[in-house]
């Protein structure tokens, strides 16, 4: 668990991301707060379009040209939003590494992997190309890439998905970053390979005191790796807190819905309950709570006022109905 007395490593406050589209704009991230401490694994969970990836890309200044971000992203005392490009570049790949969802397309198809990893080294350190190349092979060994010395000159198309994701991780960790942002690192992989990659992340995290921001829609991945969970819905945090509390005492109807739609090995007889409806499109600001149209607990007030994020026990919850109920009628869920 993280040490809460030291200042956070990454602190995102009131982050907004807007995408300009043909008929106006999409307000994809609507005031996100997220805190990551040194050595902590913070999961960001939500369905597609909930703003998980957009907020992380905004953190590193990697948003597409039609997107704009506002708010505050502080990394170890430095404000990253609106920071000059050289500052951002030294942090990207230097102190913050990032890996992406699809290792099939995230590697350059015409460069061999040694070169692509060495490039990450050379960009941030004063080393000769030869040193960078041997460092690249070391990094491959670190991520348990089999036969790293001989296969370092492979091209991406010669590798399996899992191997490519290892290459991505090696690349992201080339300069010993403080944080690894992993955007759906296992989504495109087979289940067995998923487990291997998660094992790798777990062991790297322990051996290097690496903080990880784990973006995923897979609660199974979260349970295995994360310390804290941030559930995002329609561009905001619906609920955040320690992983144990989120899984065992979810307070927000959306979190409860997510968990109810998850199959469980220990309770095979349980019916899976999907959440009805679809998330809002965010072309226009939702009125009231953005989850209210799909929420079975919603009352009239939910459609009018957007609930603020408030502390409930160990978690922060943005719901004005359920936490109240659980406070009055203990453990009714």
């Amino acid at each position: 668990m993280s040490d809460l007395t030291t200042p956070p490593l990454l602190e995102i406050r009131d982050l907004h991301v807007r995408f300009a589209v043909r008929n106006g704009q999409v307000h994809a991230v609507r005031g996100l707060d997220l805190t990551v401490h040194r050595g902590e694994v913070a999961a960001v969970v939500g369905e597609s379009g909930s703003g998980k990836s957009a907020s992380m890309l905004a953190t590193l200044g990697l948003l597409d040209i039609n997107a704009s971000a506002s708010g505050s992203v502080r990394f170890d005392g430095t404000e990253l939003l609106g920071a000059p490009p050289p500052v951002l570049r030294s942090i990207r790949g230097g102190r913050i590494g990032m890996i992406f969802q699809d290792p099939m397309t995230s590697l350059n198809p015409v460069l061999d992997i040694r070169r692509q990893i060495a490039e990450a080294v050379i960009t941030h350190r004063q080393v000769s190309p030869r040193q960078a190349e041997s460092k690249a092979v070391e990094l491959l060994e670190m991520v348990s890439f089999p036969d790293a010395v001989r296969r370092a000159r492979s091209y991406p198309h010669e590798l399996s998905g899992g191997m490519r994701q290892r290459v991505m991780i090696a690349m992201a960790l080339a300069n010993d970053p403080d944080i690894l942002i992993a955007d759906e690192p296992t989504t495109a992989l087979d289940v067995t390979v998923q487990a291997q990659i998660l094992d790798l992340l777990r062991s790297l995290r322990q051996s290097r005191e690496l903080a990880i921001v784990l973006i995923t829609h897979d609660l199974g991945v979260v349970a295995g790796l994360a310390d804290t969970v941030n559930v995002m819905y329609a561009g905001r945090i619906a609920e955040s807190g320690p992983v144990v509390d989120i899984f065992h005492r979810p307070q927000h109807p959306y979190t409860i819905g997510l968990l109810a739609s998850l199959p469980r090995l220990d309770r095979p007889d349980r019916e899976l309950t999907p959440i009805g409806g679809v998330p809002p499109r965010l072309y226009e600001e939702p009125e009231g709570c953005s989850f209210a149209p799909r929420c079975r607990y919603a009352v009239e007030a939910c459609h009018e006022v957007e609930p603020p994020l408030e502390r409930v026990e160990a978690s922060m919850v943005a719901c004005s109905v359920l936490p109240m109920r659980s406070r009055t009628a203990e453990g009714s869920l």
């Binding site: 990697l62 350059n108 091209y155």
Partner: protein
């Protein structure tokens, strides 16, 4: 490949023979056409007697031995004529390829990196001009303005007037003048290449830069470009090392093809700039119904395209690791 060449020469042979005009008129002169003895003798001498099939058979037999026949017009073997003129055309085509290739890639890459900004519009306009203005018009305007009016560039021709060509070693005036140690002449020859190469290369530059721009914009939103940025790479390096390198692949396919086009489409440029190359040879041969000359040029053009395609395939295999190892 031999079958393709056979097809090319056959079609060229048929088309030239199907023209309803008699090349004898240009061989013996219109006035002599009334004299049956002379006409019959000339027909015999130039192998125009016998049926078309017989002529075709003789033509093929000679072709296999590398003999393209004697030109009706120059009275020299066509192979000799072509080899004599090849260096001039190659000089022009290589120059145009450099102008068009380097200029096109640079312009396309620049436009892509400045997408939808003023610089992008300007460079696209420049490309569009190059690929839409007819070569004969640009050539004449350039000669008129830059040579006749302003005197910034030399006039047409491979050599300054009343200058002796350098000693014949390769036939390339630029290389031969260097071999002679004559640097003044080398500079003059090079300087004279600038206008025709630009005129010929501009169209090509326009075509290529639009292709490079489109290919780069295709690649720019790829995941691996985002990865490169996430590594902390400077935007310039992202463009050059990642985007351009991948945008090369579709570009390469037209690069070789275009070189063949430059070799064979220099007809207008050579005519305007009085360039004694294969293009102007083609025009002269066609004007005088010089069958061996026409067939020779057709064969040359066919060969140029085939070799360019082969070179493209080889280059592609070098540039694309997926092909190299497949």
């Amino acid at each position: 490949m031999p079958f393709l060449l056979l097809g090319i020469v056959t079609i060229a042979f048929c088309i030239s023979r199907l023209i309803p005009a008699d090349p004898l008129a240009s061989i013996v002169g219109v006035r002599q056409m009334a004299n049956p003895t002379i006409v019959a003798a000339a027909r015999q001498k130039w192998g125009l007697n016998g049926s078309i099939l017989e002529q075709y058979w003789v033509f093929l037999k000679n072709l296999v031995r590398g003999d393209l026949g004697i030109s009706f017009r120059t009275r020299k073997p066509v192979t000799h004529d072509l080899l004599d003129r090849l260096p001039a055309t190659l000089e022009l085509a290589v120059g145009a390829l450099v102008v068009g290739g380097v200029g096109g890639v640079a312009l396309g890459a620049y436009a892509a990196s400045k997408k939808d900004k003023m610089a992008d519009h300007l460079s696209r306009g420049f490309s569009l001009l190059g690929s839409s203005l007819p070569v004969f018009w640009i050539g004449l305007v350039f000669l008129f303005v830059l040579y006749a009016r302003l005197g910034w560039f030399p006039g047409p021709g491979r050599l300054p007037p009343r200058t002796k060509p350098p000693g014949h070693v390769t036939g390339f005036y630029t290389i031969d003048s260097l071999l002679d140690g004559n640097f003044t002449l080398f500079r003059q020859c090079l300087w004279r290449l600038v206008l025709p190469c630009f005129v010929l290369g501009w169209a090509y530059m326009g075509q290529l830069s639009r292709l490079v721009r489109a290919a780069m914009l295709d690649e720019i939103n790829s995941d691996y470009v985002r990865t490169a940025r996430a590594k902390g790479l400077a935007e310039r390096l992202v463009m050059r090392r990642h985007v351009l390198r991948n945008a090369w692949l579709p570009t390469l396919t037209i690069l070789g093809f275009s070189f063949a086009q430059l070799l064979t489409a220099s007809v207008l440029t050579e005519t305007i700039f009085q360039w004694n190359g294969i293009g102007s040879y083609a025009v002269q041969s066609a004007n005088t119904l010089d069958f061996p000359g026409i067939n020779g040029v057709s064969l040359f053009a066919g060969l140029a395209f085939l070799l360019a395609n082969l070179a493209t395939d080889v280059l592609y295999a070098v540039a694309d690791p997926k092909i190299r190892l497949a």
